[in-house]
């Protein structure tokens, strides 16, 4: 008899709680995932695919769903990784050894003498930063170039070169002073 009471009581209470939660889940429904937007905003948008995802947004989605670690973005370097760690409240993860912690920014330049006008690079460019048409010489709009280097492999004549972005006095950055006290003894 007492077993019966126990079972009934538990079932009734469980059912009541279930109803309550069911109601709450309708009332507090959440649509979309706003976190993806926030992650995407931190990524450098080079769309280079070096993270193994086809572009920045897919990578953002993968991070948000916990499928990808936060240290896969070489163009963003340590800065992006730290920003992601900060946003998501996770421990920073070291970048792969092969990538610089602070990558130098680059753009590509097309050697106009060699270009054959094959348009392959135009198709590869994720941000439409290459100007030109079939059989016409192509040019990179330096301001639009994200330095993803996706145009380099398709080029049949190897006429695309990487050049570092020039630092002007106006865009120059003061170096962080060396903290001798924190440095190991020489």
């Amino acid at each position: 008899m007492s077993i019966l009471i126990a079972v009934v009581t538990l079932s009734v209470i469980a059912a009541l709680f279930g109803l309550l939660l069911g109601y709450a889940s309708i009332k507090f429904r959440v649509e979309g995932d706003p976190v993806v937007e926030k992650i995407d905003a931190l990524l450098p948008q080079t769309q280079c695919g070096q993270c193994s995802f086809p572009g920045c947004r897919p990578y953002a989605e993968a991070i948000a769903s916990g499928e990808a670690p936060i240290n896969l973005c070489p163009p963003g370097g340590e800065t992006t990784m730290l920003a992601l760690a900060d946003l998501l409240g996770v421990e920073p993860v070291a970048l792969d050894d092969e990538h610089d912690t602070e990558p130098t920014k680059t753009v590509v330049v097309i050697d106009e003498q060699t270009c054959i006008g094959c348009t392959l690079c135009i198709q590869a460019c994720p941000v439409d930063a290459i100007l030109g048409a079939a059989k016409q010489m192509h040019t990179v709009i330096a301001d639009e170039c994200t330095g993803c280097n996706l145009c380099i492999p398709p080029c049949p004549v190897d006429c695309i070169h990487i050049t570092p972005v020039k630092v002007e006095p106006d865009t120059w950055r003061w170096p962080l002073p060396e903290q001798n006290f924190a440095a190991p003894r020489a």
Binding site: W174, P177, N180, F181, A182, P184, R185
Partner: protein, 360 residues
Amino acid sequence: MRFKTASSPHTTPVSSVNVIMRKVLMAMIPGTAATAYFFGWGVLINICLACVVAISSETLMLYLRKRPMKPYLSDNSALLTACLLAMALPQLAPWWLTVIAVSSAIILGKHLYGGLGFNPFNPAMVGYVIVIISFPKEMTQWVPPAVAGYSQLGFLETLQVIFAGSIPAGMSWDSITMATPLDTMKTQLGLELSINDIHQHKVYGPMFSSVSGVGWEWINGLFLAGGLWLAYKRIIDWRIPAGLLGMLFLLSNSFALYDYSSFTPPTFQLFSGGIMLAAFFIATDPVTASTTIRGRWIFGAGIGFFIFVIRTWGSYPDGIAFAVLLMNMTAPLLDYYTMPRTFGHHWSEFPGHHKKEPEE
């Protein structure tokens, strides 16, 4: 001609860390001398032992952490920690107690956090709390003050007690040690005696003076003098001691007015135990205190508050170390919520002004 480049300002330094620490040590001299006068050789032996342990621990940790030795060993901060801790330990504390306290202060309280400037807790108080919780009995081995007709140990006898743990022939622990006035007051109040009764008491009466405990008013007075000199020299910020002493005065005065027979008067509260040492030398450790003006007031007042609470209702006779550590915990938040208003900004832009902090 070519030149070196550097960031402005291009000026000579006006002060330095080791000078600051040295001045703090200098300001401790009068109070320390008084303590040694009243409590004998043990004080000086403790200080020497603590300094040796502190410097060795510091050297060891710098070596292990592969950090430059010279600037850190000459910054005097380890010596200051050692001296503060030595002043807080009982005079006849066995040598290993001092070693444990000082080494844990320097290693655990300071270097595990990255050494000078990075420790969130006052290292001396970390060391003190560790030993008072671990070895409560040894921490009561205070000696009676020299004036009240109590016998005093000589230098060699003190050495013997501290290092060999053996009491000179013909004496017992009870004859060479006694509870501090604070401790006695607390125990006797707990036995439902009134303050007046305690002052008249045959055994305990002589250890109290009209101000606080015999000798203690001098010790505290001299630490107060040293502290005022530091504040005048702007080595320490006057707001922390002011907040601490002010809060302690306010609380003890209110309670004493409410019931003068079971709450000690402000003079007793302010001039017994290590209050002046705490107010001017311990609480003002800039690394672990709040750094804003309002934060420092709150920081000092908070310590005063907890000292009074622990002294009055807690189990420990003096709560300085606990109070300091408790307020050390709040320092990062205090700094954040008491930011000064930046020039050209409106108050509403600052934390704590547009939103309320839930727990503070």
